[in-house]
């Protein structure tokens, strides 16, 4: 894979009229690539740093055209299912099969975009940002993993007086975090689990760096919100929520916490990527569980938003 300069990066998607990722009407820029692998992740297409292939099984008529055109012989037929299988380790996302597929069963997710291209999209909704304090939100994936690219977008947005927000796992060296938040109006940062080992088990990394960063963000005075994904039976137990509460009690400038209940909307994306969704079988958290968690956090004077 070619080295990407700071003036361009791989973007999964740019979504307009996003309503849950910062104040006002926002444009959400999804970065591709993340150092974490949260088992419940509903955006698996943002895991890898390179563009990938989506394969919509339901649209495939098993015509075999893609097999014929693939220059790397990455595709083979699965006669029992009357579908094709793509070896993701061989595929280079060259796009030949996408062009060849007559039914639109194949498409690319992720494309290289320059800062200018991103800005062009972001600027389109300026009239909408002006009411209700909206703006751009960088999300992912992990924005901080491509912080140079992110910084450029944030700086350019500031130049245009566009409100900026960043959604992050917080998993990056403090220097990086520090620089990025100096161009950010709202930081949305996750706490997934308080237990370091459990955190590693669930996400692939430990939480120390993240928690340390949160403490420093708290001291930096930037407006920030902590977001807690509530995953049924994984981190929604009372002891974890209480541990989070204990941690947030030590934060002076935290005002708001968002609870993001697990949902299954990401399920089909795992299928498109021909991957297995480890936690795809989970049920949505119970209303009462969400209420309980919210109650615990509210007790320490925090504004708790469910959904957020």
């Amino acid at each position: 894979m070619r080295e990407l300069k700071k003036t361009s990066g791989i973007i999964c998607e740019i979504e307009r009229y996003a309503l849950n990722d910062g104040p006002g009407i926002r444009t959400l820029v999804f970065f591709k690539g993340c150092p974490l692998r949260c088992k419940w992740c509903s955006n698996p297409e943002t895991h890898n740093f390179h563009p990938e292939l989506y394969y919509y099984t339901h649209k495939c008529t098993f015509c075999g055209k893609c097999i014929a055109v693939c220059p790397y012989h990455a595709i083979r037929a699965d006669y029992s299912r009357q579908k094709v299988i793509t070896d993701r380790n061989i595929c280079r996302t060259c796009g030949e099969c996408i062009k060849a597929c007559p039914t639109g069963a194949r498409s690319a997710v992720g494309m290289e975009m320059t800062v200018e291209q991103v800005m062009e999209e972001v600027k389109k909704d300026i009239p909408f940002y002006l009411r209700g304090g909206g703006g751009v939100t960088l999300s992912g994936g992990e924005v901080l993993s491509r912080f140079e690219f992110a910084l450029e977008i944030l700086k350019k947005s500031r130049e245009e007086f566009i409100d900026t927000a960043v959604e992050t796992s917080g998993y990056a060296p403090w220097d990086v975090v520090k620089e990025v938040i100096s161009y950010t109006d709202h930081v949305l940062i996750d706490i997934k689990h308080m237990d370091p080992l459990r955190h590693r088990e669930l996400t692939g990394v430990e939480n120390k760096l993240i928690l340390d960063n949160i403490k420093k963000i708290d001291r930096s005075k930037v407006h920030y919100i902590i977001r807690i994904p509530l995953i049924t039976g994984i981190n929604d137990d009372e002891s974890n929520i209480k541990a989070i509460k204990e941690f947030t009690n030590g934060l002076k400038n935290l005002r708001e916490v968002h609870l993001l209940p697990y949902h299954t909307l990401g399920k089909s994306k795992y299928e498109y990527l021909e991957r297995i969704y480890e936690l795809g079988h989970l049920v949505k958290p119970h209303k009462e569980k969400i209420y309980e968690a919210a109650q615990i956090l509210k007790d320490s004077g925090l504004n708790v938003v469910v959904g957020g």
Partner: protein, 799 residues
């Protein structure tokens, strides 16, 4: 939000349960009068016919009703208007035996009246408006109508409608005051002067109709008194006596209370509906002109707020009881029994201050409570619309019956000013029908034209060198796509075709207008439009202060998308040979190669995604049309009114379905015979970037020049409005809509699952209301194609 009382609940259920019927009383009286008075001037003939109808038709007061007055012998029963057209009635009766076997918009004619109706038809054959239109229509226009590049049947079978009379004047002066005006004008006439005899007949006919309107109200007073005498329940007896007192006073005298004012407005509105067969007869700025009465009554404890609500709800049920039967050929253009009785609220005073008052809220709430397809409620937004009011509108919208629709003062007022409307009048505009605007009481009919121009058909023919592949007709030969050398040259061919068909659409409009003027002048309506009495002219003869008409274009999005695909694939990237494209279009993209080609076409830029490549083509295409249509004058030009011109408009009601039904596959990847895009909305399902992108795309069109109104339809799933925050975001969206100077926007807040369920079990979803385009309809009464079309509109999803 629910209705305010059990009474209203019962009345609502009653009117909803009615199977639409057909009543022949009006036809009977009109035919009698025409038969007996062949030699009379047409004004008088029509005045006497209306008089005979009002004084003899069946009237009723339903149990519990507070507002009285009926259009035909039962609620939801359509009168017959034989003077406009009868062929279609005869044809449908002959072929199907009744009107209850249609695919949509079903009516039932009682068997015992069939014979009499056929008898009536015999008298009218060869004498109707439609017959006259056909006789005077140039061959070229006929052929263009067969091709369906233009369509004007609506006008020629049903008359004008589309008007807001001067309700304020009636409330202030009473019909008595208007009669006095007419009498004075009459006595001032010097009969030896040129044209004076005509004026005399016109003014006399006004006096006759207004007097008969008063008589009509008196009949209800008598009936109420009779009923009161036999009424055991003392409370109801008291109500009936009140009704009688109201009907003795209004519309004859000025209204002296809110209750009387509502009753008076209803009578005046109702009589217009009986007089003419047109639709979109609208009520104007109801919150503005009823407010003084409300304010006074509340201050003096004459009524309570709850009672005022109840009266409004009764008025909505009355509006819903009105219904018109249209030929099947036209009902596809406005499916779902629409009558487009618009009520406008909000907006600004003539000083430019916000005009929202308590009544605006009550109207909003009562419309939400009754949840009927009528009135067609419009809210005028502007830069300073109060936040609370906006939130209230969103709450109502969230209920999912498509109302209210939003209009934008910030572009409509400047647009009107640019057309020569005075400052005060421009600030006082109201909606008519769905998205058209007019100055209440001062504007002629049909600020929207009714001659449709099928832009997508014109585009299709341009590809084939001017020949219509469906009918084989070729009225104007130009170079086909295979003969042109460049995209610019292709565009020129299209412009030539557009100029040609625009002109024909105007001729078609004139055919209708000339005959409407001559054959079916509306006397009652003219009496209440300024300055008809002063000028001694009907509206149609140039009596109105303003008279401007819009053309109606269908399929702007399809044209832009087709042009973009041709430009990009055929001429720029050269990956598609014109011959191949045409071959694929002819095969409806069904061959193997066709599928490939369609895929490419569908992948080309699409209007509605804030993509300048295609949006600029939409703007350019629209400008071509704007430039063309303003060259023409309507039949009132130079006869009194300010204006007398045409301008563009995209209020295409649901005509995108029948208009698309005659067009083969098109270069935008659209399959043959499927619906065209609605108004200025993107093609169904091609707006992939969400509502902000759609708004941006539409905002690029020269909206200020589209004084006939620019229609934008958006369907939202309800989750987009869940919770306080999302509702606030939605308010931001609406505020940006205002700032972007878009004309109109309306939302269907309903999930496609619900719509599918309604298709499966229509009985259960009788009160599922959807916005079809500019108006609301009961979803289950729509024909399957329109239903599918509604479902296929992109459901905007939030991230």
């Amino acid at each position: 939000m629910n209705v305010s009382s059990i009474r209203v609940k019962k009345l609502r259920e009653d009117v909803l349960s009615r199977v639409p019927g057909v009543c022949i009383e009006r036809a009977r009286f009109y035919t009698e009068v025409y038969r007996e008075n062949e030699a009379l001037p047409v004004y008088l003939k029509r005045a006497i016919a209306l008089q005979r109808t009002l004084e003899n038709m069946s009237i009723y007061i339903l149990d519990g009703e507070l507002i009285v007055g009926n259009q035909a012998c039962a609620p939801r029963t359509a009168p017959v208007f034989p003077e406009y057209a009868v062929e279609w009635i005869e044809k449908e009766l002959e072929e199907k035996g009744n009107f209850d076997k249609r695919a949509g918009d079903v009516f039932h004619l009682p068997e015992e009246h069939k014979e009499e109706l056929l008898e009536i038809i015999k008298f009218w054959k060869g004498k109707t408006l439609y017959d006259h239109c056909m006789a005077s229509m140039p061959e070229e226009v006929k052929t263009a109508s067969i091709i369906k590049a233009i369509h004007g049947d609506g006008n020629m079978t049903s008359g004008d409608g589309h008007i807001v009379v001067d309700y304020e004047k009636v409330l202030k002066l009473g019909l008595k005051g208007v009669i006095k005006e007419a009498e004075e004008a009459l006595s001032a006439l010097d009969l030896s002067e040129n044209d004076a005899l005509r004026k005399k007949a016109f003014l006399e006919s006004i006096i006759i109709t207004l007097r008969s309107a008063i008589k009509f109200a008196q009949r209800f007073a008598n009936l109420a008194e009779d009923l009161a005498r036999g009424e055991r329940n003392p409370v109801r007896a008291g109500e009936l006596m009140q009704i009688a007192r109201n009907c003795r006073r209004v519309p004859e005298y000025p209204a002296s209370s809110f209750y009387e004012a509502v009753q008076s407005v209803w009578f005046v509105h109702l009589i217009q509906q009986i007089e003419s067969n047109g639709h979109s007869v609208s009520l104007g700025r109801l919150d503005k002109y009823l407010y003084p009465y409300y304010e006074y009554d509340i201050k003096n404890n004459v009524i309570t707020r709850d009672f005022a609500m109840e009266l409004l709800e009764c008025l909505w049920i009355k509006l819903f009881s009105i219904i018109k039967i249209r030929p099947t050929s036209h009902s596809g253009y406005g499916a779902g029994y629409p009558t487009y009785q618009n009520v406008t609220i909000g907006g600004q005073t003539k000083e430019g201050r916000d005009a929202v008052n308590v009544l605006s809220y009550l109207i909003l709430e009562s419309v939400a409570g009754t949840r009927l397809t009528q009135p067609n409620l419009s809210v005028r937004l502007h830069a300073n619309t109060p936040e609370r009011f906006l939130q209230k509108c969103i709450e109502v919208l969230k209920m999912g019956f498509g109302m209210p629709a939003f209009k934008n003062d910030e572009v409509i007022i400047p647009s009107l000013l640019s057309r020569g409307v005075s400052h005060d009048d421009a600030y006082n505009y109201s909606m008519v029908g769905c998205i058209e605007v007019a100055v209440p009481g001062k504007w002629g009919y049909r600020c929207t034209g009714m001659s449709f121009l099928n832009m997508i058909k014109v585009l299709e023919m341009t590809v084939y060198g001017g020949k219509d592949p469906r009918t084989g007709h070729c009225l104007l030969h130009t170079k086909s796509l295979t003969e042109v050398q460049s995209f610019e040259e292709f565009w020129e061919q299209w412009e030539k075709q557009m100029q040609y068909y625009t002109k024909l659409s105007i001729v078609l409009d004139h055919v209708a207008d000339t005959n409407l003027e001559k054959l079916v002048p509306d006397i009652f309506t003219s009496a209440l439009v300024n300055d008809c009495i002063k000028r001694g002219k009907t509206v149609k003869e140039g009596g109105a202060v303003y008279d401007m008409v819009s053309g109606l274009q269908v399929g702007i999005a399809n044209v832009a998308n087709s042009m973009a695909a041709i430009k990009k694939l055929v001429f720029e990237e050269k990956v598609l040979k014109p011959e191949k494209l045409i071959e694929a279009m002819k095969a409806n993209f069904e061959s193997e190669e066709g599928i490939e080609i369609q895929k490419k076409l569908l992948a080309a830029p699409k209007y509605g995604n804030d993509d300048d490549y295609v949006d600029e083509l939409a703007v350019k295409a629209f400008n071509t049309y704007v430039k063309e249509i303003v060259k023409f004058k309507n039949t009132r030009f130079g006869r009194g009114p300010i204006g007398g011109i045409y301008y563009p408009g995209t209020s295409a009601i649901s005509s995108n379905v029948p208009m698309g039904a005659v067009v083969g596959a098109t270069p935008d990847g659209r399959k043959a015979w499927t619906p065209a895009a609605e108004g200025a909305s993107p093609t169904q399902g091609t707006d992939k970037k969400g509502p902000t992108a759609v708004l941006k795309s539409v905002s690029k069109l020269p909206t200020i020049l589209i004084t006939g109104g620019n229609l934008l339809n958006q369907k939202f799933s309800p989750d987009l409005l869940e919770g306080k925050e999302r509702m606030e975001r939605f308010a931001d969206l609406l505020r940006t809509f205002v700032a972007l100077k878009l004309w109109h926007i309306q939302f269907n807040i309903v999930s496609s699952e619900v719509l599918r369920a309604a298709q499966r079990e229509p009985e259960k979803y009788r009160d599922l209301i959807v916005r079809v385009a500019g108006y609301c309809a009961q979803f289950v009464t729509l024909d399957p194609t329109t239903q599918e079309d509604i479902i296929s509109r992109t459901e905007q999803k939030a991230v």
